[in-house]
């Protein structure tokens, strides 16, 4: 296993009235060369998982292992050389060019260096070529479109030369074309470079399309773990997401396709509305 969570729990400190949120007893592993998807509704603990994996926060229970060694024994720079994160959303008011941004990915390989080495520069170029942003290198990052920003951020993570690439909601706020682009890019990185990827997303179809295995989180607990065909199951999704869905696993479709059952949902809402008016009366 490249990365492994063993019974990992986390509780945000309860300060004042703020609700403390927990990830409880989650266990799963990411094997070398795999694409593992972490899915689940909002606030199910998906991003908490990423933050734990990069030691932004420490688990309150259980242990995380990276290549067999406990994560808590790995220093910041060392960790950044092994795990590259493409965070949710791009920085705003970012005063650097795309090239400068991607070079920042080389920081953990020589934090004491004042300027990057020629090798750092070459690797940054290569990373930009891999995500097709090389021709944008001289442009200010803020001038880029949403999809271009996403690719620049992925190039920055690739420049870290990580063994595990973590993508946190890579298609959020992007329109259809960029979603397809992101999926193709992930598959290409996985197939051509053997890159291990952890995809965190609430986009079930994207996850179903690119992932070898899925971890479904619900309220901080692992609700299911396994192949997309096994995890993406109508009754399970209905209970986790609290709405009716239709999973199309028919021949010729390929991976499972998930559709929201609009009509079913409307019925539920109408029923609940009726109940409320009833209690008010």
């Amino acid at each position: 296993m490249l990365a492994e969570f063993r019974n990992v729990s986390f509780a945000y400190p309860a300060n004042g009235r703020q609700r403390s949120f927990a990830l409880s007893e989650v266990s799963f592993g990411i094997g070398q060369g795999e694409i593992v998807g972490v899915i689940g509704p909002n606030s199910a603990g998906k991003t908490t998982l990423t933050r734990l994996l990069t030691r932004v926060i420490e688990p309150t229970g259980g242990e995380i292992f990276l290549e067999g060694a406990p994560l808590r024994g790995i220093g910041r720079a060392e960790l950044a050389r092994r795990v590259g994160v493409v965070p949710q959303g791009a920085p705003s008011q970012f005063p650097f060019t795309v090239g400068e941004l991607v070079l920042m990915g080389r920081y953990p390989h020589g934090p004491g260096r004042y300027f990057e080495s020629p090798r750092d520069r070459a690797l940054a170029q290569e990373a930009m070529a891999a995500t097709s942003v090389l021709e944008l290198a001289e442009l200010p990052f803020d001038d880029l479109s949403g999809g271009e920003r996403q690719r620049a951020m992925i190039a920055r993570a690739l420049a870290q030369e990580p063994r595990l690439l973590v993508l946190d909601e890579p298609t959020a706020h992007l329109d259809l074309r960029y979603q397809a682009e992101a999926a193709a890019l992930m598959r290409r990185l996985n197939q051509e470079r053997g890159m291990t990827i952890m995809l965190v997303s609430h986009d079930l179809n994207l996850a179903a399309e690119v992932c070898d295995r899925l971890l479904l989180l619900s309220g901080g607990c692992a609700a299911a773990l396994g192949a997309p065909e096994a995890v993406l199951e109508e009754t399970l999704l209905a209970s986790v997401f609290g709405c009716e869905v239709i999973v199309d696993k028919s021949e010729g479709v390929g991976r499972p396709v998930i559709r929201l059952a609009w009509r079913a949902r409307a019925t539920t809402r109408a029923g609940r509305g009726g109940g409320e008016s009833g209690s008010r009366a």
Binding site: R51, T54, R55, V56, R76, A77, E78, L79, A80, R81, V83, V85, P87, P91, Q93, F94, P95, F96, T97, E100, L101, M104, G105, Y107, P108, P111, R113, Y114, F115, Q160
Partner: protein, 338 residues
């Protein structure tokens, strides 16, 4: 051109300009001394107690040194605070940090501290404590909302600045009338020659502050990504922020102790250089030091000569330049953020 060659080129050019400005400043002043007499004094040919020797080497030269050091220190402190708060308008005087340091110095002065080496060290200590107090207050006020927004931070800085200037007035009101002139003179932001021992101490403190910031310039760039993203790239963000803050506060405090609260240098110089070099702190920090030195030296030369034989405080010149510049930045470049 690679960044290192670019830095070298700009630094060499700016250093040559600084030498030229310093050399030029040696020849102008309210005492009329001919250029040949200045040259004689510099080359050691003038008589030991002659007027030209005293004016050139004991008055003008130390004052040039103070101006260059103070300007460089303030500009670097500006870059530090701007990167730290991710706010392009942050600057020691705008943030109220200078005001806090000035309050510390006034307290020290009211206790009788002067500019002998030990007393100057004490005075800087008071200034540093005042700067920390002001920064804590600004942070406490500005941290009410989520994140540190530009307008809250500026507002907090202004409020803290007003508070400390009132506090300074209280201390001055209680002060011995005979000492008042010197304090007011200093409070306006006035460069005056300081004793060699104090000058060495000033240079040392400025060097420490500069080193704390320049040695972390690369990590400081990553902070623009946001703190969590910087951490995920291997930056020890908490330690970085404390180090930069300590460095910028030390630079501000030493300038305030030895030259008074001079405003806006930390805004004007880094911004001018940003237009030329971009936002890379590895280029900005070293070039801002030399650029700040040039700027304050020129401002002081103007201040010394524009109403000769009287003198203006250099703080007047920097504020006359800085205030319109600040408004210009606010109305054009950062309009979208407000």
């Amino acid at each position: 051109m690679s960044p290192s060659r670019r830095l070298l080129l700009v630094l060499v050019t700016l250093s040559a300009a600084l030498l030229l400005a310093a050399g030029g400043a040696l020849f102008v002043g309210s005492a009329s001394i001919s250029p040949s007499a200045v040259l004689a004094a510099v080359s050691g040919r003038a008589a030991p107690e002659s007027v030209e020797r005293v004016v050139t080497l004991a008055i003008r030269l130390p004052r040039i040194a103070v101006a260059a050091l103070a300007g460089g220190a303030l500009a670097v402190a500006g870059v530090g605070f701007q990167a730290l708060t991710r706010n392009p308008l942050a600057e020691p005087s705008v943030l109220g940090i200078s005001g806090g340091a000035a309050f510390g110095v006034v307290i020290g002065q009211s206790l009788g501290l002067g500019l002998t080496l030990a007393e100057a060290a004490g005075l800087t200590g008071f200034a540093f404590a005042g700067a920390l107090l002001a920064a804590a207050a600004v942070y406490f006020i500005a941290a009410v909302g989520p994140g540190l927004s530009i307008q809250t931070l500026l507002l907090a800085g202004v409020i803290v600045g007003i508070f400390f200037s009132a506090a300074i007035t209280v201390v001055i009101s209680l002060m011995d009338f005979n000492r008042l002139g010197g304090v007011v003179h200093w409070l306006l932001g006035n460069l005056a020659p300081i004793p060699p021992g104090a000058l060495v101490l000033f240079a040392l403190l400025a060097a420490i502050g500069f080193w704390l910031i320049v040695s972390h310039a690369r990590a400081l760039n990553l902070l623009a990504l946001g703190e969590e993203a910087a951490v995920q790239l291997g930056v020890r963000a908490q330690r970085l922020k404390l180090t930069i803050f300590a460095g910028a506060a030390l630079l501000t405090a030493s300038v305030v102790a030895f030259a008074g609260p001079i405003g806006f240098v930390g805004l004007i110089v880094p911004h001018a250089l940003r237009m030329l070099l971009g936002s890379d702190n590895r280029l900005l920090v070293p070039t801002s030091f030399v650029g700040g030195a040039i700027f304050l030296l020129l401002a002081d030369t103007v201040a010394r000569n524009v109403v000769a034989p009287a003198e203006l405080a250099v703080g007047v010149i920097t504020s006359f330049c800085g205030a319109p510049f600040f408004i210009y930045l606010l109305r054009t470049r950062y309009r979208a953020n407000l």
